[in-house]
């Protein structure tokens, strides 16, 4: 699936990789959530890997979007794992973060699979 600045790829029986591009408009969160949830439900997804490799900086708005997505996916029994967070993004986020993230983090998919 590829639309609205994001690409969702099935990478296992129940694992999905979400690759957002720079054109992803997170202002339209409702529509984005509906799109992702309906696709994951249709294909019986259990885990969503959210690729942050293109996200050099994560501001409070983007952080709120990640938390909203994780909470929404939790309601359909899907775990959100953010992967490939950039050092600059982690640094900036650690300075401004007021609440603990609702999502899991891993270096990459292999590291997550190994540790879980």
């Amino acid at each position: 699936m590829q639309s609205n600045g994001l690409r969702l790829t099935q990478i296992g029986s129940s694992d999905f990789l979400l690759e957002p591009s720079r054109s992803l408009d997170i202002q339209n969160q409702g529509a984005l959530l509906e799109l992702i949830i309906s696709k994951l439900q249709e294909l019986r997804g259990k885990r969503l890997y959210y690729d942050l490799s293109e996200q050099v900086l994560i501001d409070p708005v983007y952080y709120a979007w990640l938390n909203t997505l994780a909470v929404a996916l939790y309601t359909i029994n899907v775990t959100t794992v953010c992967i490939h967070m950039q050092p600059t993004a982690a640094y900036a986020l650690a300075q401004n973060m007021l609440v603990a993230p609702k999502f899991e983090t891993a270096i990459d998919i292999a590291a997550w699979r190994k540790s879980s």
Binding site: M85, Y91, L93, Q95, I107
Partner: protein, 295 residues
């Protein structure tokens, strides 16, 4: 090209000073070599003979340009600026070669006397007996000595800054103790700039080496305040956001008490009493168990 107008003969410009400004300076570079040989040549080994000869020619041409400028008394003139920049870089060069700022300052003073002698011989005018000429040249050479000391101070500041950076880097050694396991012993105080350095190095390392666990050892931290604890939490959060495990070890009783009184909650963070326990925890999470051969 406009012909240079000699400066008007004002009370500031005595007869001999005007004569100095109108003087067509001959080749006096050889006469200016003596101070260079004395201070930079010989046993000091700061310059070889060719360099001293080049230096004298350069100094002569810059001084001639200043004397021939539209207003040699103008302290903002480009000619005086060129001369001070030259002495500034000479000072830097000599310090890089192991010379001392005092040597360059003494060279500059000796050059002033050599210049007056050389100009007198070249023109047969007794400049050394003119108060205004001596005052003018002293003013110029004082500017040059100032430039020499300024360059020295800049160089010292640069060296101190570089040493400071080096010390900070050495104070936070990040060591890969096992594939995917980093140790970070923290000694002393974590201020904002040091936290930035530690985070920058640590996060880059996590991304580059796909680090599984980071064991931060606080055995060397003897006291903690709210700012330091805040920085510590920031490092832990950033490590976790990157997807690595953060394990804090070696929290001394007084540090534990201080953390509690500061209201710092470490329940989200894995802690172990010693560095060895922290390493065992990191290994276990990777499925590695270290046993004695007898077992």
């Amino acid at each position: 090209m406009t012909k240079k107008q000699p400066p008007p003969a004002t009370p500031k410009h005595s007869e001999k000073l005007t004569a100095l400004f109108n003087l067509t300076v001959g080749n006096i570079s050889a006469a200016l070599e003596a101070p260079g040989k004395h201070f930079f040549g010989g046993n000091s080994h700061l310059m070889d003979e060719d360099e001293i000869a080049d230096l004298s020619i350069e100094v002569m041409s810059l001084i001639t340009a200043l004397l021939k400028s539209a207003d040699p008394t103008d302290k903002d003139s480009s000619e005086l600026d060129a001369l001070t920049v030259f002495f500034s870089s000479l000072s830097q060069k000599m310090m890089m070669r192991g010379g001392h700022v005092e040597t360059v300052a003494r060279y500059t003073q000796a050059l002033q006397h050599a210049l007056i002698d050389a100009l007198e011989k070249d023109s047969n005018i007794t400049f050394s007996q003119s108060r205004s000429v001596l005052l003018y040249l002293t003013g110029v050479f004082n500017e040059l000595i100032m430039a020499v000391f300024h360059a020295y101070l800049e160089e010292k500041e640069r060296a101190l800054h570089a040493q400071d950076v080096q010390l900070r880097e050495n104070a936070t050694p990040i060591t890969e103790i096992w594939d995917g396991v980093l140790t970070l012993p923290i000694i002393g105080t974590l201020d904002s700039s040091r936290t930035m350095l530690v985070m920058e190095a640590l996060l880059s390392r996590i991304a580059k080496d796909h680090v599984h666990s980071v064991v931060m050892d606080l055995t060397g931290v003897k006291n903690i305040d709210s700012q330091v604890s805040h920085h510590l939490i920031q490092i832990v959060r950033a490590v976790q956001l990157m997807g690595s495990e953060a394990i804090i070890t070696g929290i001394q009783p007084e540090i534990a008490r201080a953390l509690v009184s500061l209201g710092i909650d470490l329940r989200d963070v894995t802690t172990r009493s010693t560095l060895s326990d922290g390493l065992k925890e990191a290994f276990q999470r990777m499925g590695i168990y270290v046993n004695s051969k007898k077992d």
